[in-house]
Symmetry: C2
Subunit: 246 residues, 2 copies
């Protein structure tokens, strides 16, 4: 796994950390990473706090191939992501003419307030990331991609950077659910995992409408083994007198 391409998502914002706003960005980035053959190995949610952003970004950019941050690049006092990332890289913050031009297409001159212009302030020597929704760009600095927090904008930004990301074979997933409990399937499931080392089998118990059950998630870059294992899993469940849900 030494040459595995990995990623970490860093979500910046007290609002997500408080649980009041449900994050939607992880699922989107995770799906895109699967398609690109990038192993999304960690997500962190951190507060809008300079020291934490600096230490998190510096730790993660050394531990993962790619780091995607979301949030904190707007115009208000708590939007400190750009300044914190400049600090993490030991760079100055400069007003980007290119960013300003991108924003000019979205705002009339009389609406180009000083607060709004703050969104054109980025660390020096970055590559901008296009924002086709509202103009104010994100940016890339080395292996760190700084994206907006609003999901629609983040998604548009992400889709604009996929050609900068070098991944591997696409990671495919399959799901099988059953009404059997984890303890009932554990032994046979463990044996199948040993036999199919190219597939990772995750077993996730759930509790829905008063009933427990298990959702099995299979992940692999090998489509053939994935399909064979899925079929074996269904046989296993039926053999244990359980129901298969797909």
């Amino acid at each position: 796994m030494a040459d595995e391409i990995t990623a970490c998502v860093v979500i910046i914002g007290n609002e997500i950390l408080s649980g009041k706003t449900q994050d939607l960005n992880l699922a989107f980035i995770g799906q895109r990473c699967d398609g690109l053959g990038i192993q999304l190995n960690e997500m962190r949610v951190i507060p809008d706090e300079q020291a934490t952003i600096v230490s998190t970004v510096n730790e993660c950019r050394h531990n993962f191939t790619y780091v995607f941050t979301t949030g904190g690049i707007g115009p208000t006092h708590d939007d400190i992501t750009s300044a914190s990332i400049a600090l993490a890289f030991g760079k100055k913050i400069v007003r980007s003419e290119q960013a300003r031009e991108a924003m000019d297409k979205y705002y009339d001159v009389e609406n180009m307030t000083e607060a709004r212009l703050k969104m054109a302030d980025v660390p020096e020597d970055v590559v901008l990331i296009d924002n086709p929704i509202s103009g104010a760009p994100g940016f890339q600095i080395e292996n760190v991609f700084v994206l907006a927090g609003i999901p629609s904008i983040m998604q548009a930004m992400f889709d604009g950077i996929t050609d900068r990301l070098v991944g591997g074979a696409a990671i495919l997933t399959e799901n099988v659910a059953t009404n059997l409990g984890e303890s009932t399937i554990a032994l046979d499931l463990g044996r199948l995992q040993e036999a199919y080392s190219e597939v990772s089998i995750g077993s996730y118990p759930y509790f829905k409408k008063g009933k427990f059950g298990v959702n099995l998630v299979l992940r692999s870059t090998n489509a053939e083994r994935l399909v064979t294992l899925k079929s074996e899993l269904k046989d296993m469940i039926t053999g244990l007198k359980g129901q298969v849900f797909e």
Copy 2:
């Protein structure tokens, strides 16, 4: 802030990391922490992978007053949280008679399979955490609390440990939303943040039903200042010809 009581939530599970299952545990723990006066400062989502669990738990238990992990304590091959946490603390895994007795109340003898018994294997010298839903307990080791991943069980476990947690004054929150954009309010908002240093003001843009707006979240242990600031914020929005949503 040197004596601030802090916490980190570590969510263990590929299923959450893939975004396929939406995490519900952060919001619950965050709310409880607010009430207990514990500052929830970080959340991490990591895969079911031993080296990552060990390094994450060892990093977080030194950086935060409390660490709450969820997930990975069931009976299947990918439930490696207990073993990984034992490793993080340099402890052996032992079969806990007390855990086994707790489980005996929930399962008939013929259903106490070897897979199920694995859930009675915990690091030595831990304090168990009661599971009033399905028997198999969580455990506490120093400042790390190891909880189940299923929300209903995790919640029951958490409510059983609140008397072990020493917090501070309860953290209160208020919300004000507006149809004004962040750039319009940024200047006045920054001035109010400076005037109210005891309150943290978070500004979170949203995009709903085709319209952008901002949700302002106020957090403080000082109820009086919180209420006064909320009223000032509403005046600010009205003064800028915006609508206030509560």
